[in-house]
Symmetry: C2
Subunit: 433 residues, 2 copies
Amino acid sequence: MNAEDVKGFFASRDTLDMEQYLVLDYYLECVGDIETALAHFCSEQSTAQWKRVGIDEDFRPVHAAKVIGLEIVEELSQLSYPVKHAETGKIHACRVTIAHPHCNFGPKIPNLLTAVCGEGTFFTPGVPVVKLMDIAFPDTYLADFEGPRFGIEGLRNILHAHGRPIFFGVVKPNIGLSPEEFCEIAHQSWLGGLDIAKDDEMLADVTWSAMADRAAHLGEARRKAEAETGEPKIYLANITDEVDSLIEKHDVAVRNGANALLLNALPVGLSAVRMLSNYTQVPLIGHFPFIASFSRMEKYGIHSRVMTKLQRLAGLDAVIMPGFGDRMMTPEEEVVENIEECTKPMGHIKPCLPVPGGSDSALTLETVYRKVGNVDFGFVPGRGVFGHPMGPKAGAMSIRQAWEAIEKGVSIESYSQSHPELKAMLDLAVARK
Amino acid sequence: MNAEDVKGFFASRDTLDMEQYLVLDYYLECVGDIETALAHFCSEQSTAQWKRVGIDEDFRPVHAAKVIGLEIVEELSQLSYPVKHAETGKIHACRVTIAHPHCNFGPKIPNLLTAVCGEGTFFTPGVPVVKLMDIAFPDTYLADFEGPRFGIEGLRNILHAHGRPIFFGVVKPNIGLSPEEFCEIAHQSWLGGLDIAKDDEMLADVTWSAMADRAAHLGEARRKAEAETGEPKIYLANITDEVDSLIEKHDVAVRNGANALLLNALPVGLSAVRMLSNYTQVPLIGHFPFIASFSRMEKYGIHSRVMTKLQRLAGLDAVIMPGFGDRMMTPEEEVVENIEECTKPMGHIKPCLPVPGGSDSALTLETVYRKVGNVDFGFVPGRGVFGHPMGPKAGAMSIRQAWEAIEKGVSIESYSQSHPELKAMLDLAVARK
């Protein structure tokens, strides 16, 4: 690419109709001349060959991705990670803002992914280390997406749960229980105060616990728990399955008694999530398998924030994500960013409920609440409810007691003196130390 | 976990009915006691809590993932990549073989992905650095998958192309041409000798080149080229789109004249690939956007070999993958492994055609052929055909001439003396030096 060619991939933001562009934020490590590397980077993800041989034309003004911002962070003595590559020269770490014309692919998630984290992005000469840090969408692009059908308000209305977190629990043991056994402990957890008893992300429709059977048992138990407690409850059934059976799984699960559905978003694919969100009669909740495989490296891959945005765009009413604490190996600021992405303004797209999870219990609720900074979150213990030494009902009670203590401004230690279920969790923590 | 608990996650292979297990090969960096870390690793991806409180039961014999092989590679002074984590202690790099009972999830791609590269895999205490290196499937598990419908033989039969590579070309400019313009240069490339003219992975159904319209033009041009050359030709249409429109896109594209279909496998999701492979009337060919985001790091993420296997399992008749040379930033042995995975014995699953790609032209064909080691591959230039200085017909001719030279055992330099299209490519390379 000569100097004149390079220019076609740079623009200033004020010369572009930004409603026609997505704004992409990348961390890049460029080898050799920075502008040439960036021009290649834009070219590879859009108009790789921008004219026919022998014809005077240029597809770049309309179709090229264009650099609209560049910050050279530092010169590096070597790439942050060893990568086989061809170029030689100085290495620079850069933050680059790119305007990519969405007419290249349209309002379709698979085509969007192809453009922003596809071959062009990861196979550009001179750019061996790449992390897609963020995407921003203009309102005209968002207008073609439906987003969450229920959102936070819809979930709260179903549960009559306002002004507090939503209390989920992952039924454990997650694998091996028959539907009858599973049902019994889920029922106990509702009686103890859970809003939502959920299937583990690993448990779906299996020979030893068929979805239809499990949903029937859980649906009956849910209605019983609702009658016993006077409160609405949700059985969140994991219908993660091959995409050509998702609609049928939705129908069977909902008909039999599930009143919210779990999808492992990346394993089924974000487009399958969107398909189901346009069909579902009940809230859809996403879980995070697979995402860590491309988001954990600080300077390579795709930032988890991008996936949170896309899950919301695809129509999930709640997004379960790696939460706080060393257990989930995610920097605190990244967890906070992911939580914020669920509720930030996003055109007409409704907010979805962030559910930061990972080894939670009554003892972590206050920390999570303080870090989130408000009540709009889901709290999702597993063993913290179902491994409680006094059983799942007590486990759920311990969570609600911890919330009562927070609301009253009392320490859980002091509140536990009159609440044995909470005290049992404190004692267990002491015993494990 | 105490020492007795740890034992439940170890087994020797000869005590297990291996038809009931997938065999997973991981690279792990363990912090602290290795066996405890590995027991947690197995526990988190299967029976996280293997009994109910107060009940004497153990789900591990049937449902636990179990370590069946361990090689401690070396002690490390620090993790290969910085990761926030809680554990302290010595760090060991290990290769671990795990038997995971497939009854936990069944013959379903999303559930399989959830088990082998989900939350458990990437969020195990003491195992902050993880790469899934390989999966092996027992025949009983493979029996529930359909695999490629056409496979290599099917593709060869459609094209009457035997005993040689299949010659693909990515029509360029990839973005911006109208269907009429696109059609004209594809037609030229068929006349020059391409078997398959294809849409770029970035080009799908867009406002400025509707799939129905493009397929109609290309179908007509294809039939014309077939009449003119006396050889069968393929127009490979990229129907990558939201999954709920893939069947409709298949029908429109095939009815209008496409006779093979391209899917960006990870962007639509492997399960959507499987859905379409069970429906399609024509060969399905996969492209590789997104995969590099989790496969490029040597010691973190998921090895590309796993994705090649899963794409074949999902039913792709050909798999386009990053090929040889520094341009594609993939170690040569990894490219070779991915090529081999396409044709290795895999139960009843047919071989699929490997298509290693990346900046190819007449000048790289011999190298690719020697490295592949046989003729069962697809060759897929883009600019090497459509950026040829004498035009796309000459570009395609140069590829076929390069193959003729190989067949005759003549150097391309010598063969180019009587073949101006080949000579033009050699001259171009000299001019660019």
